[in-house]
Structure formats: structure tokens, C-alpha cells
């Protein structure tokens, strides 16, 4: 194992001239995006396109008594109207890609049937000559609603007597419960010298990509060809889901995602409006476009994270952890979205800590709110907040240094690989090294012994840590099959040589900011030997790319790099054979160097790639026994999931009078294994940290309990960080290659979302230790700190804890 400390991007050296893994390359994606020449879905404008608008339920829970669309249909310019009955006749309910194990299938149609279960659920859709006219027509649709009792609080929804959202399918709002664990944590808790526990409330936030969802559908009945441009992370899975919902063959559908303006997990699968646009287009035989407006985005895309965790850590008097348990309720909203509620809180239950007795139980709960979907981190920021807050509580209880307590319990490099209580296998890493680097960088030793007294400006300084692991990729297709997931763990690419001497790469992964085109070209350049500039990546079109999985779960590079490597090696071997025939040499004596194949010992004996590729493409001048053509497709599944890891440290200054605080420094030490493009990796970590700070500090979707309305569903009322809001961030890396992935790569997309909440809360609690402040709720606002200081509850008491129900789970404990 090698560990390399690499300075942060500040010392980025200029672009190099040839593609190699580990170097900064100017991005393939940038020129078009910088020139306004990207092709986002709303930029697609077929001739004779019509426009769709969607009417939505204004109530959190309501029966649809009657819909009268006659006035709307009379409006000039209106071409087609759909209601729930039309949709029921023509389609199947929307499928779920990553089901909750043990959950019944909910009849989620593209338009509400008898009952809508959240504000914003589609009820009627109209297509007209312009969006303006379509919206005018919606004003003329007369819908009679009968409001039904609603419930928006996740714990209240589980109470007996709560209004049940789907009484035809379920007796309560518990969609399903899943448990995992090993050992006997209850016995360890009874024996322990100390048990710390808490109820941790995680806020409802949303991924908020800057490009909203959008779809353009075009149907040619004679050709049986439905072309669907859509803003998605998973074009091949969209094609599968649309075929199922629309009762078409997959071969009838081409899904295209050209440029995607951010996804972050939200754009994972089919939404009602995708199905509606297709239905209208098929009925009208004209292209139909719908671009979500931001008000719709806040109400019918997906939200994320909302959950209540009852977490316990038991330890002996020296601080050795004996057991960790988490019983938690996650909100899933009114329907099961394509990716359901977050499943990784259970997988990384114990973070980087050594514990053999552990238990996680997830209760997936329906409420009258917008459905919850995947969002960068997918359960990991939530559980990290719980266990890292409790690690500091434990340190205070035992009067131990929180850094030493963490170090004592962290798995060591020698202990890895190691299976955690919920079955996850941590592959490799040096967790303590990251912790020590973070402690040193933030100045912990100097701070530790100082009294927590106010500075001249009245503020008190505190330091907090959050250590974490991050699951990246999937363990295996077998793992996914056991949980009913509708996709594989592999990634697929096709490489094809062209007559210009270049290589085209076709991938079903769409381009949404993660720099896949750049990184894919780097791998091909590295493995094949061709120049980086001579590789072109074509992304996101199901009619051109091999069937794949898609861009989510920090999995693209760890899976795709293997497929790229295999395909590039196959192509290189044939290229050398063809060149050897041409040069009257032996393949072993040749090498590919940029635009030519040449003799290793005599560079003057060479032939251009353009020539060699030309012989293959025409079949003219190839050796006997060789087939014409120069193309390779590879499907690659990594050996296991790779676990990234690290520690973050925050330095804050808190005003003990008002609760106001400022994050003066934030250090992130992180390991992503072998780095393909260091600048891109830093960009991914920084971007995810920004989202992590948003969720930790300023973002929260609030529902009014009485009316069931989303009260801040607009950009004016919801506060993602701006350029002026973020604290100074320092990035440090280690680089321990993973043994389970090609090149030793670990995923990197999500990790930054994990530690900000816990690190900042721990820092505030450190500053205010003399006041006995223990924060347990996100977001962390000055008001929350002030309430904690003044002993004022926010009215959300900790009445009765969620207790394990290991013996009588509905599904017997299938796992995450």
C-alpha cells in the first residue's frame, strides 16, 4: 500500500500534452458549454413542436370528485387534454428502480387517479401551441376536490390513527421496514460502562440542479419510433421504464440525454411528466415539449434526506466502542419515487469505527409531501450527523480527547478488508492518517487545552471533527438482485476507430458535470497510447451506446474505467497486429505513440493510426485471418464497492449571547484512491461540500402542519449557498489505491456532502461546552444555537424513542 500526500489544487501545474491518468487535462466538455453551445433538453426544438403544461393538486391529500376540461378544450390553440382516466387506460404505473425491500408496489400513475397524496401531484395535462396557451387552458380546467385529512410529520404518520395514504395497499403509512445487524448489541449495551444516545432530526432538502427537468417527445407511428430527449442521469433506464409504462417494446424507444444541467441523484428515472409528454406526442403525432418551471420543481421532482434517527453508542470506560445501533424513520413522501428513500444510512451505520455488535433498522414512512428520491450522499450525511455528534458526546462524558477517542476506535490498515455489522466490506485505507492530518491542519493541539472563553469580539472558538467512510459503487449485481434493484453494477462502453486516426467512445452515461467525457478520454489515451485530443466521447444516447447502468452512486469511473481499459486493450492489440503486417514487423516490437504506431527500437519505422484504422475499416490491406473493422465493446463489473474515507475539521467562532456563528476555517482530508484527474476530483469534493454546507446550515423545505402546504417552495425562499456564503475550504488528500477497482480508483462524487453538518455542530458544541449545548437537529441555524443556549426547546420533544423491532419486521429483515 502506498500513501501519497498531494497538495491541493492551488499548485496545479499546467495541462500536459498527452493524456495520462493522474494529470489535469482541459475538459472535453468545456468549449461548447462556455460558448452557450451546450445542448440541454430545453434547447431541443423540433419543427412543429407543441407545449405541455400540467395542472396539479393544490391540497396535500384530496379526493378528485370531478374534472371538467370542456372549457379548456375550447380555447384556441389547445390540441389535447389528458386526465387520470386516460392515463389509466393507456399506461402502467411508474416503476421503481431501487425498491424498498419488502414494499408493496404503489399504483403511481402519471396523473392522479381518485386521490392525490401531495401538493403538486399532476392531475391534468394540456398540450397547446405555446406554453402560454397551455397554462391559460389549465386556468379553465374545473376540478372539484374533496380535501382529506393529511399528515406531514414523519413520526406522526406512524402513529395509530394517522390518515393512511394508500389504504388499498397498506394498513398504515409504514411502506416497509428493513433491518440489518450482527452480534448482540442489546447485550453489549446492558454491559457497557456508558451509553450515549440521541434523537437526530435531519432536514428535508432538495438536490436543486440548476437545470430543471425537461422532456421532448416525438413519435413516428409508421417507424414505431419514440424519440425522447430528457434531462436524466440514466438514459437506458429511462428507456426501460418508459417501455414498461407505455406498453411499448424497448426497441421502439430512443432516449437521449445530451447535456444535463446537474443531476445529483434527482434525475434518476422516469417521472410522471415524462410519461405524459410521450402520451400526448403519440396521440397527436407531433413533438411535445415540457420544461419544468421552478415552482413545479419544488413540488413534483424529488426531495431528500428527511429522517429521524434514534442512535445509540455503548462503550467501556476507556472509550472502546462496544455497540452502535440506529433505528430510524425515513420519509418517502406521498409515493415511492424511482429511487425511493435513502438506503445507505444502514450500510455505513458505524462509519470508520470498529464495532462487531451493531444494528440498523429503517422504517420507510409515507407522508403527504413531495416524494423523496436519491440525493448525493443517499443516507450517508444523515447517519454521519448522528454517530459523529455522539462520538463527541461520548468523549465529553468520558473526559477523553475526541481525536484520540476516534483514533482508538478507527479500523487500522491492517484490519482491512473488514466486514461491518450490516455486511459492507470496507476495502482498504488509512483512516487514522486522515484524522491526524485534519487535526494538525486545523490546529487541534494548540486549541485543545485552551479555555473556551470569549475573544475580544465576544465570540468563543470551537473545533469539531467528522470522520467518515463513503460507499462508492455497488458490491455486485448479486447484491443488487437480492434487493430487487432494476439495474446492474457494471458499466459498458464501445470504442470505435475512425478513418481520421481517432477513437470514438460511446457511453450511455450522460454528461451532467462530472467530467466523464474528460476522464473517459484520459483512460483511453493512457491505455491505448493515442493522444487525448484524438479521443471523442459520445454520451447519453441509447441508440448509439451499449446498454449500461448510468451515472449515480459515485460509480461511473470505478466501473467504466474497467470497461474502457478492456476495450482499449482489445483495440490496441488489433491495431498492433494490423500495423505489424503493414510494417512487416512483429506486434511485440511495436508501440502506439500518439498519432503513430512505431518500432520501439527505431521510431523512424512507423505508420500513422489513420492509415492503420483505414485498413481495418475498409478491410483492404489486413493480414489473412483478421476480420475487418476496429471496434470493441466491453461490460465491466468491479469486484466490490470501494469505500472512500476521510476526516473534516471545522473551526467556528460562536457568539454565546445570540447563537450567531461563523465558520472561520474548514479542512477536508479525503482519499479517493487513485486519482484520474486531480483538478476534477477537487472540483467534485468542493462542489459536494457546498451542497453539504447548504443542507447543514441554510436549506430546509418546510411544510405547514395545519395546511400541509410547502411554505418555501421557491428560489426566493429556499437558500442554497451563493458565492458569498461559503466558508474558506482547505482540501488535503491521501491516495490509497483500492484493491477492488481498476487502477485503484474510489468514487468521489458524493463524499463532500457527508461531513459538514457533524463537523460544524461539533465545533459549536466544543465552543459552548461550558454551556452544555448538544445540537441534534439540522439545519444548524443561529436560532437553533440560541435556543439550545437558552434551554428553549423548538417544540419537537423527544417523547418516546424508536425501539428495535428485530423480531417482528414485516419483511423479516431483507437489508438495505
Amino acid at each position: 500500500m502506498t500513501t501519497v500526500e498531494r497538495p491541493a489544487a492551488a499548485d496545479r501545474s499546467g495541462p500536459v500534452t498527452r493524456g495520462v491518468i493522474g494529470s489535469w487535462q482541459l475538459r472535453k466538455e468545456d468549449d461548447r458549454l462556455l460558448r452557450g453551445d451546450g445542448r440541454f433538453t430545453d434547447d431541443v426544438e423540433p419543427a412543429h413542436v407543441l407545449h405541455m403544461a400540467v395542472g396539479r393538486c393544490p391540497y396535500p391529500h384530496a379526493r378528485i370528485v370531478r374534472i371538467d376540461t370542456s372549457a379548456a378544450e375550447q380555447l384556441e390553440g389547445v390540441k389535447h387534454v389528458l386526465t387520470g382516466a386516460d392515463v389509466r387506460a393507456a399506461t402502467e404505473p411508474l416503476g421503481v428502480l431501487r425498491p424498498v425491500p419488502g414494499a408493496p408496489r404503489l399504483p403511481y400513475y402519471a396523473l392522479a387517479q381518485d386521490v392525490a397524496t401531495h401538493e403538486g401531484q399532476p392531475v391534468v395535462s394540456v398540450v397547446a401551441t405555446s406554453r402560454h396557451v397551455a397554462e391559460d387552458a389549465l386556468e379553465l380546467v374545473d376540478v372539484e376536490y374533496e380535501p382529506l385529512p393529511h399528515v406531514v410529520d414523519v413520526l406522526a404518520a406512524l402513529e395509530p390513527g394517522a390518515p393512511v395514504l394508500h389504504p388499498d395497499v397498506l394498513d398504515s403509512n409504514l411502506l416497509a421496514a428493513n433491518s440489518d445487524g450482527s452480534g448482540d448489541p442489546e447485550a453489549r449495551i446492558r454491559e457497557a460502562d456508558v451509553v450515549v444516545e440521541g434523537r437526530f432530526r435531519i432536514n428535508r432538502v432538495t438536490a436543486l440542479p440548476m437545470e430543471t427537468r425537461a422532456v421532448v417527445a416525438e413519435w413516428r407511428p409508421g417507424a414505431r419510433e419514440l424519440t425522447v430527449h430528457t434531462s436524466t442521469q440514466v438514459p437506458h433506464l429511462i428507456r426501460k421504464q418508459l417501455a414498461e409504462s407505455l406498453r411499448l417494446q424497448e426497441s421502439d424507444i430512443r432516449a437521449v440525454a445530451s447535456d444535463v444541467g446537474g443531476g445529483f441523484g434527482l434525475k434518476l428515472g422516469v417521472f410522471p411528466e415524462d410519461v405524459l409528454a410521450c402520451l400526448h406526442a403519440m396521440a397527436l403525432r407531433r413533438p411535445v415539449k415540457w420544461t419544468e418551471d421552478r415552482a413545479e420543481h419544488f413540488r413534483n421532482s424529488t426531495h431528500a434526506r428527511e429522517s429521524v434517527h434514534d442512535y445509540r453508542i455503548a462503550a467501556d470506560a476507556e472509550g472502546r466502542i462496544l455497540a452502535m445501533t440506529d433505528v430510524y424513520a425515513t420519509d418517502i413522501g406521498g409515493w415511492n419515487s424511482p429511487f425511493g428513500s435513502a438506503q445507505l444510512s444502514s450500510v455505513v451505520l458505524n462509519g470508520p469505527y470498529r464495532v462487531t455488535d451493531g444494528y440498523a433498522e429503517r422504517r420507510v414512512t409515507l407522508t403527504n409531501k413531495t416524494p423523496i428520491g436519491a440525493y448525493r450522499g443517499y443516507g450517508q450525511p444523515e447517519v454521519n450527523f448522528a454517530y459523529e455528534r455522539l462520538m463527541d458526546t461520548l468523549a465529553r462524558r468520558l473526559d477523553l480527547d475526541p481525536v484520540e477517542l476516534r483514533a482508538k476506535n478507527m479500523l487500522t490498515p491492517a484490519e482491512l478488508p473488514w466486514k461491518n455489522p450490516t455486511g459492507a466490506v470496507y476495502d482498504s485505507g488509512d483512516y487514522e492518517k486522515c484524522l491526524r492530518m485534519a487535526a494538525e491542519a486545523i490546529g487541534w493541539d494548540a486549541h485543545r487545552g485552551t479555555p473556551r472563553t470569549p475573544r475580544a469580539d465576544g465570540r468563543i472558538r470551537g473545533i469539531g471533527f467528522s470522520s467518515f467512510v463513503e460507499r462508492t459503487g455497488y458490491a455486485s449485481a448479486r447484491f443488487l438482485a437480492r434487493r430487487g434493484s432494476q439495474f446492474g453494477a457494471h458499466e459498458s462502453v464501445t470504442l470505435r476507430a475512425n478513418r481520421s486516426g481517432g477513437i470514438d467512445v460511446w457511453t450511455g452515461v450522460s454528461t451532467m458535470g462530472q467530467s466523464a467525457e474528460t476522464a473517459f478520454a484520459q483512460v483511453v489515451s493512457e491505455v491505448f497510447g493515442i493522444g487525448y485530443d484524438a479521443v471523442k466521447v459520445h454520451a447519453g444516447d441509447t441508440s448509439a451506446s451499449p446498454l449500461n447502468t448510468g451515472a449515480f452512486a459515485s460509480r461511473t469511473m470505478i466501473a467504466a474505467s474497467g470497461a474502457l481499459k478492456e476495450a482499449a486493450e482489445e483495440l490496441a492489440a488489433k491495431t498492433l497486429r494490423l500495423a505489424a503486417w503493414r510494417l512487416e514487423s512483429d506486434p511485440e516490437l511495436l508501440e502506439i505513440a500518439g498519432p503513430v504506431v512505431r518500432r520501439r527500437d527505431d521510431a523512424s519505422v512507423s505508420v500513422t493510426l489513420a492509415e492503420v484504422f483505414g485498413t481495418a475499416i475498409t478491410g483492404q490491406g489486413i493480414p489473412p485471418g483478421e476480420e475487418p473493422g476496429l471496434e470493441a465493446t466491453s461490460h465491466f463489473e468491479p469486484a466490490d464497492a470501494a469505500y472512500s474515507f476521510g476526516t473534516a475539521a471545522a473551526l467556528v467562532a460562536v457568539d454565546p449571547g445570540t447563537g450567531e456563528f461563523e465558520i472561520e476555517r474548514f479542512v477536508m482530508v479525503h482519499d479517493a484512491g487513485t486519482v484520474v484527474n486531480p483538478t476534477v476530483v477537487d472540483g467534485q469534493v468542493r462542489g459536494a461540500l457546498a451542497q453539504g454546507f447548504g443542507a447543514a446550515l441554510t436549506e430546509e423545505l418546510r411544510y405547514d402542519a395545519e395546511t400541509g402546504q410547502l411554505v418555501n417552495g421557491s428560489m426566493v425562499d429556499y437558500f442554497p449557498p451563493t458565492a458569498a456564503d461559503l466558508p474558506p475550504i482547505e482540501l488535503l488528500h491521501t491516495e490509497v489505491p483500492s484493491p477492488v477497482t481498476p487502477f485503484g480508483i474510489r468514487g468521489v462524487g458524493e463524499v463532500g456532502t457527508i461531513p459538514p453538518g457533524a463537523a460544524v455542530a461539533n465545533a459549536i458544541c466544543d465552543a459552548l461546552a461550558d454551556f452544555g449545548v448538544e445540537l441534534d437537529t439540522l439545519p444548524i441555524t443561529p436560532e437553533a444555537v440560541w435556543r439550545a443556549l437558552s434551554g428553549r426547546s423548538d417544540g419537537q420533544g423527544f417523547d418516546e424513542e424508536l425501539t428495535p423491532t428485530r423480531e417482528n419486521l414485516p419483511d423479516g429483515g431483507v437489508g438495505y
Binding site: P15, L26, R27, E29, D30, D31, R32, L33, L34, R35, G36, D37, G38, F40, D42, D43, E45, Q74, L75, E76, H132, D136, A207, L208, P209, M210, E211, T212, D259, V260, G261, G262, F264, T291, D293, R294, T511, M512, G513, Q514, S515, T679, V680, D682, G683, R686, G687, L689, A690, Q691, S714, M715, V716, P720, T722, A723, A724, D725, L726, I729
Partner: protein, 176 residues
């Protein structure tokens, strides 16, 4: 039945070209640029003037084009992201964004570029803090902003080194 949509005539200059059009009174500038002129580099993110995706330069100032009606463009001079690059060459500001990895998904990038372009019209050399404040009207969900600030800072630093007339020529509009 509603009455026919009221229409308005306008004459404006967009990226140096005089445009005359008849548009619905309720059409906003972002939709006008995208749907009538095919200038799809200007993006729409919220239609509330909050996210900044649709920022363009009107008479030298950064404007959120979703909050301005197309008819208000009459007699004015508009610059969009499409005006920045000349032929196959990115302009120096775009080049700084590329070299500093100041974009990921690229959806906010036109708004950032046009905000910085308007800032350049004002002259002077803003500090990092001032750049942060200036671009705070444009949201980016991908980058965490650091590299965007660096790119704009670098652009201003390099424009000191360029002769003044060359720096001005690298801006859109003007002579072209």
C-alpha cells in the same frame, strides 16, 4: 374564451445585429432570446430573478432576462454568451474559466460569464471578496464557486497585462 394575446413591436440590437420583431406582450427576454432568436446559451432557471441563469448584458449592465419583458428591449443593446467567442477562439474570460475548471455541468456558466463581462465593463480590478459579492446573484450547484472566483480574478489580472484597447476588444458588443 380569452382575448387574443396582445402583441408588441420592437427593434433592438442583439450581439451587434439589429433585430425587429413582433412579440406577445408577456414574453420575457430570456424566452425571446431562446425561442425567437435561437440563442439558447441563455438559460432559464427560476423565472423569478433569483437564480441568475438567464443573466445577459443590456446596455453594459448585467440583467436577469427573465425579469425583463421583450418589449422593454426596444432601442437597447443586448449581449449574450454567444457573442463572446470569435470564430473558434474562446475569449480571454472564457479561456480563464476553462483553465481554472470553473464549470462542471455548465448550466450556470453563461450567467457567470455575462455577470463577469458586465463587471469588466465597469472597469477597475475587483478583489476576490468583491468578485464573490458580484457573482452572488448567480447560483452554481456544482462547483462551490472557488474556481469561478479564481477564473474571474485571473481574467482581471491578465487584462492589466494586455494593452487597454485589446482588453476592450475582447469584450462583446462595442465595435462588432
Amino acid at each position: 374564451m380569452t382575448a387574443p394575446e396582445p402583441l408588441v413591436e420592437l427593434t433592438t440590437t442583439v450581439n451587434g445585429e439589429v433585430v425587429t420583431a413582433t412579440v406577445p406582450a408577456r414574453l420575457h427576454v430570456a424566452d425571446f432570446l431562446r425561442q425567437r432568436l435561437g440563442l439558447t446559451g441563455t438559460h432559464v432557471g427560476c423565472e423569478q430573478g433569483s437564480c441568475g441563469m438567464c443573466t445577459v448584458v443590456v446596455d453594459g449592465e448585467a440583467v436577469k432576462s427573465c425579469l425583463m419583458l421583450a418589449c422593454q428591449l426596444d432601442g437597447r443593446n443586448v449581449q449574450t454568451v454567444e457573442s463572446l467567442a470569435v470564430d473558434d477562439e474562446l475569449n480571454p474570460l472564457q479561456q480563464c474559466f476553462k483553465e481554472q475548471h470553473a464549470l462542471q455541468c455548465g448550466f450556470c456558466t453563461p450567467g457567470m460569464l455575462m455577470t463577469a463581462t458586465a463587471l469588466a465593463h465597469q472597469g477597475g480590478h475587483p478583489s476576490r471578496e468583491e468578485i464573490r459579492e458580484e457573482i452572488a446573484g448567480v447560483l452554481c450547484r456544482c462547483t462551490g464557486y472557488e474556481n469561478i472566483v479564481t477564473a474571474i480574478e485571473r481574467y482581471f489580472a491578465e487584462s492589466v497585462e494586455r494593452p487597454a484597447d485589446e482588453a476592450a476588444a475582447s469584450l462583446p458588443g462595442g465595435a462588432r
